[in-house]
Symmetry: C2
Subunit: 127 residues, 2 copies
């Protein structure tokens, strides 16, 4: 089994156990010194215990499905669709793994809808 396969499976388990609120199994996907980074807010969470807690305490009855996953040895990216009641949003997450195929870093992006700038209507269609 290649380390690419390992980390891809780990990341699939990461999301499945988060959706199930199975925080023990979720913790098993993480390296002890995992670092979670949110560049948009310039926030960082360091260490498995805190990062599990961050997710466990995350407010709202959120549910997720993986929209797309791209993996190579040691690196995985997911595009995940979240619903919280009627709200929908998506997260793009970059993962790196350690030698045991556990998650070592997670960097999340949460893009929000916005109005398109004027001047390109001759090239685009809205959907």
């Amino acid at each position: 089994m290649t380390s690419s396969t390992d980390l891809r499976k780990t990341v699939e388990s990461f999301w499945a156990t988060a959706e199930d609120r199975n925080w023990t199994a979720f913790a098993d996907t993480l390296a002890e010194d995992v670092v979670y980074t949110l560049p948009q807010t310039r926030e960082r969470v360091s260490g498995r215990e805190r990062y599990v807690e961050f997710n466990r305490e995350y407010p709202g009855d959120w549910h997720l499905r993986i929209e797309r996953i791209v993996a190579e040895p040691g690196q995985v990216v997911t595009w995940v669709h979240f619903t919280v009641g009627l709200d929908e949003m998506y997260a793009i997450s970059f993962f790196t793994g350690d030698a045991e195929g556990r998650v070592l870093t997670v960097t999340d992006f949460w893009p929000e809808p916005y109005e398109p700038p004027v001047g390109r209507e001759h090239l685009v269609e809205r959907y």
Copy 2:
């Protein structure tokens, strides 16, 4: 050479030729029926000619560097850092390729900075 290698190289060329404003070489990285999608604005640009034009007309003296790239056969994701004067932003782009290793679809996300919600200060540090 695997198709993974092909599309990864194509995507590296896509960004290098965009930075160089070499629109002929940029067009060579694209399938004729390429589709570009911006989920945040629900905009879509269809076809090589329009998509080259969309990029060529894009306002501002923008410059880019690839921050991270993750590739598997037929799929590539890039995290690209843009500067426009003193402004900095980043784009996350999901690429798929055709059988010839050209870009068939591009889906872009442009996450913006935001203020973190209250209630998680006990778990995070700001950087």
